[in-house]
Amino acid sequence: MEKLDNLYREIIMEHYKNPRNKGLIDDPSYVTVHIKNPSCGDDITVQSKFVNGIVKDCRHDGHGCSICCSSASVMTETVIDKTTEEANKIADNYLLMVTNKSFDETIDLEEAAVYSGVRQFPARVKCASIAWQAFVETLKKGA
């Protein structure tokens, strides 16, 4: 069961059980993006607050499998306090990594790096991606 152990890593489970930055805020200074993964019903909303080129805050809510929910939590922790440029770079490289494309390995994905195991589960790549895709959308809309 090596492959599955690679997927359900401790950090992932930890974020799944204790999600950070969860719950939405009713504050117009946040950019909100809602993404549904129609192929499995995962449903994630991401809110980002950008101030002077910095990701001041990032929040998430929704439901889905452990990979989807935990990655939303990891994502918020990873991008908060980064410049929008840095955060964008991390997000792009993360999405390249999980889809098994070549990516810039010099960029530190921090805790998000533990999602590399998802590459062995093509059917779950989408689960690991949608929170990050939603974040990229908030960047496009608001940063």
Partner: protein
Amino acid sequence: MEKNLYRSDFPQFQDKTFVYLDSAASALKPQSVIDSVNHYYHDLSVNIHRGIYDEAYEATRLYEETREMVASFINASPEEIVFTRGATSALNLVALSYGMNLTSEDEIITSELEHHSSVLPWQAVANKTKAKLVYIPLDSEGRITVEAFKSVLTKKTKIVAITYVSNVMGYISPLDEIIPLAHQFGARVVVDAAQAAPHLKIDVKRLDVDFLAFSGHKMLGPTGVGVLFGKQELLNSMEPIELGGEMNEEVGKFQSVWKDAPYKFEAGTMPIASIIGLAKAIEYLKNVNLEEIENHTKRIRNYAYQQLKKIDGIVIYNPTSDSSIIAFNIKNVHPHDAASYFAEKKVALRAGHHCAQLIIKWLQIEACLRASFYLYNTFEDADQLVQTAKAAVKFFRSVGFEG
């Protein structure tokens, strides 16, 4: 354990490790069906109708022969059999054509057990015509009962859109009582038989059903073909929705005349290969006998159920299912997480809402796992399911999912 007599007809089981428990989504195909599709592409490969050369004549003959076989399979006349892209298209055709005659005075009865393809076309009719959409209250198990049906049936009821066999719970609807009741009130009954056709002997005359739809791919046949049965006078009274080649008698610049049913509903080039292949699926089902299939699959289903329910950490949503479906979850494990585990162990089952969100909501869950059995499944498959379920519970607890 006992030998499965059908299995060797299905080439996919040359992979001995393949445990296929997703037949409710799509059945595997026997070699005879594959050969028949192949025969069309390899030896005929031409269009039907209006072709005078041998290949076109032969393709047309096979196409129309399938219509006769489908008709006899459900005890209808060939004129009552319309080929469509699938059950979904068939159900939409009834709603888009027959349904558009409804008015705000009328009521449509349906249920939360419906597949989206059965309920959404009528939801749209209700929204467009302002007819009222009424749901049969389900009983505590999530079943449609005759009593509950009576409680919503009124003189205003014009349409009853109802599933024959539920694709999540495996319940069989009491159509024998519902249809005559509906007729007493002057309503027409549209039956979604997508899950029934592979399992039950359907007799449209005995049922006296008005419309009935099913798909080829769930009953051992090719993808891309479905069937709409409609009583002849109803089909004749209906306007075609898709217009084009082959469905007309006379085309003028501003007015045209359609052929009779069923042809007026078959516009353009149809899925010829799939229709020809469907004949072989029906032949196969007739040869093995639907009652025996049902007997076989229910025994395996019950065998699996008896063991699954003993596993601590497994919750089953349809203990009393009438058909070969088990809807379940691992407690506190999202079904997509669970399904990956099963997939790793080469046990193919489906996770999600199974295109039936209303019953998933009724169950107050987000999604579930579904194992569905068919003629080629074995008791070993059931064992594999049970063992994998046990191991999965253990695995997920071990990595930290709550118990």
